[in-house]
């Protein structure tokens, strides 16, 4: 029995480490390739010399057909940060009014939240595009942002969390004369750090990586987010420049990886809450 356990643990670590290597390998290859000269991308794993040429190519251009990639990073930030803040703000006040203030018909609204999460997005793609067009939102940042300002999933997980906060705490604050809005900002917000971290991470991640929606509602190269511009160029002008492609892919991956590493602890803690995010 003892002998069995002795050789079991190293074996577990070995399998996990091989698995981890396979999981991280594409990232590793992507980052290494982005610093390689074009001749070495397919032939060598470790580069013999490092170059920043690929990044210079994508960010500065100089080919005569360059597009504004630096600007596209700014566009991506705009269409990711604004919805993230908005989703947190409206998620919180809506969940608070439904679950803690129990406004008339709160059960109906809570069911509505769940229904909105369950209905597949494909049903809304075409009509939402038509609505954006009717509202003059095509080729605008606002057109890419509007439909993501409120996320029923965020309302749902705030409701789940607000259920666990004792009513006595809120009563005490009300007796001290705190307004409902103050209760949200001074009590609910500090208490729901984990939930807010998860909402931030998932929302930012989804908006930063978003591809189909900005592809549809925006045809203006100067307003494209990085994901769309990069995709169009990979299928077009950059097809034969694997190094440049990987530099772009690295730029696209970096912000969400950093954000993930910052919020990592909350991610694992809150996995039971996020049960409904596909």
């Amino acid at each position: 029995m003892n002998k069995y356990i002795k050789c079991k643990m190293p074996l577990i670590y070995l399998v996990l480490t091989i698995g981890l290597f396979l999981a991280i390998f594409p990232y590793l290859w992507m980052v290494l390739s982005s610093f390689k000269v074009s001749g070495e991308i397919y032939t060598r794993f470790w580069p013999t010399k490092l170059t920043l040429g690929n990044y210079a190519f994508i960010l500065k251009g100089g080919t005569g057909q360059e597009r504004n990639f630096t600007g596209s990073i700014a566009n991506s930030l705009i269409i990711s940060i604004i919805p993230t803040i908005s989703v947190i703000f409206f998620g919180m006040i809506t969940a608070y009014s439904l679950r803690r203030m129990k406004i008339c018909g709160y059960r109906f609204f809570e069911n509505l939240v769940v229904y909105q999460m369950l209905f597949p997005g494909v049903l809304f793609l075409i009509p939402l595009f038509l609505i954006m067009r009717d509202w003059g939102q095509i080729n605008k940042h606002s057109g890419m942002i509007l439909r993501y300002l409120i996320d029923p999933w965020a309302i749902f997980i705030y409701i789940q969390f607000f259920k666990t906060i004792p009513e006595a705490l809120l009563e005490a604050a009300r007796i001290d004369g705190a307004s409902e809005f103050k209760i949200i900002t001074r009590i609910m917000l500090p208490l729901s750090k984990t939930t807010t971290a998860i909402v931030t991470l998932f929302t930012f991640m989804a908006r930063w990586s978003e591809f189909l929606w900005p592809l549809i509602v925006n045809k203006d190269y100067d307003k494209m987010p990085l994901s769309v511009l990069l995709a169009l160029f990979t299928k077009g002008e950059y097809q034969t420049y694997p190094g440049v492609q990987m530099a772009g892919a690295t730029l696209l991956t970096l912000p969400i990886v950093i954000l993930f590493l910052v919020f990592r602890r909350h991610f694992e803690e809150g996995i039971s809450f996020t049960g409904l995010k596909g």
């Binding site: 643990m9 577990i12 996990l16 698995g19 981890l20 396979l22 999981a23 594409p26 990232y27 290859w29 397919y42 409206f90 006040i93 809506t94 009014s97 439904l98 203030m101 129990k102 406004i103 609204f109 509505l112 909105q116 209905f119 597949p120 494909v122 049903l123 809304f124 793609l125 075409i126 009509p127 939402l128 595009f129 038509l130 609505i131 509007l146 409120i150 309302i155 409902e180 930063w208 990586s209 591809f211 189909l212 994901s227 769309v228 990069l230 995709a231 990979t234 299928k235 492609q245 990987m246 892919a249 696209l252 991956t253 969400i256 990886v257 993930f260 991610f267 694992e268 996995i271 596909g278």
Partner: protein
């Protein structure tokens, strides 16, 4: 006097009730407006368009009744796409269940401080952006890419994305790569919820580790299995970025999905009505599969 007090109390609480509702409705009014404008309205409009013929541009929209629905159902492409999605689903669910459950079972056995590091490493693939990892895998699995260069040692060359028989399976493998760590975390949460005394009792009864796995672990992870299979089903029918970036629906329509076809029909061929119909049919098919899977697998009477 007493009566007076009661009524005054009632008055105050009634006033408070009204005020509370007023503030509450102010708080939730953005959500209500959003629901009407961005959910109910487009939902109804989507259904209306599916009964129309319209090229998105001209003011002329004509009612065509069920013509779009008949067109979708009679189009052989629909069955090609459903078959592709089922192929994807089978490969994806099988492999991802094995890898993520395996991952969770292994992680469970190592000390917590190392477990956190491994989980973080495996989750890195989950946070990757669809466009970025599609580009990376497209190069890694290209005809003369790294993977084929390695396989050349054994004298094998695989057309990962060019052989119509395996292109969809290759895409399924990529999506497995993305979700293994994430689903592993769900399985880990499920495993941690299993009462350890059950295993102790089974050991006393002489059950070996395989029997314990089949009789205790698998049935008690039922809820996790359901959740992952439902997610996987929805992913299968909503696949867009990966085939768009890597194969464009080819070779020979082997990776054409509903989403690609909707995009192509509406924004390429300007067939708004047909595209809307396809979206509705796709949603209905997804619902049928989710319902069937739940019917088949879901158990709520496990060892209670």
């Amino acid at each position: 006097m007493r009566k007076n007090l009661v009524s005054r109390n009632n008055l105050i609480s009634y006033k408070n009730f009204g005020r509370k509702n007023l503030i509450g409705y102010i708080f939730s009014s953005p959500f209500i407006i959003f629901t009407l404008a961005m959910w109910l309205y487009p939902f109804l409009w989507g259904i209306v368009i599916s009964f129309k013929k319209w090229n998105l541009i001209s003011p002329k929209q004509s009612w065509v009744g069920l013509e779009n629905y008949l067109g979708v159902i009679k189009d052989p492409m629909l069955w090609v796409m459903v078959r592709n999605s089922i192929y994807f689903m089978v490969v994806f669910i099988t492999i991802t269940t094995i890898t993520s459950l395996g991952l969770a079972l292994l992680i469970k056995q190592i000390p917590k401080k190392y477990a956190g590091l491994y989980i973080a490493g495996f989750l890195l693939s989950y946070v990757s952006s669809g466009v970025a990892y599609s580009m990376v895998f497209n190069l890694l699995f290209a005809g003369d890419g790294l993977v084929n260069n390695l396989l050349r040692i054994f004298g094998i060359k695989v057309g990962w994305f060019t052989n119509p028989k395996i292109a969809m399976a290759s895409i399924a493998m990529i999506v497995c790569w993305k979700f293994t760590g994430y689903y592993g975390l769900f399985f880990l949460a499920g495993l941690n919820n299993i009462n350890p005394t059950l295993y102790e009792a089974a050991v006393i009864d002489g059950a070996n580790s395989w029997q314990r796995f089949i009789k205790i672990t698998v049935p008690l992870l039922n809820a996790t299995f359901i959740m992952i299979i439902v997610f996987a089903t929805i992913i299968s029918f909503n696949l867009f970025t990966e085939p768009y970036m890597i194969t464009g629906g080819g070779p020979m329509n082997a990776t054409r999905t509903m989403m690609l076809e909707i995009y192509h029909r509406v924004f390429g061929l300007l067939q708004a009505g047909y595209g809307s119909t396809l979206a509705i049919v796709s949603a209905v098919i997804t619902f049928i599969f989710v319902w069937a899977f739940r019917k088949l697998i879901e158990r709520d009477d496990i060892y209670e």
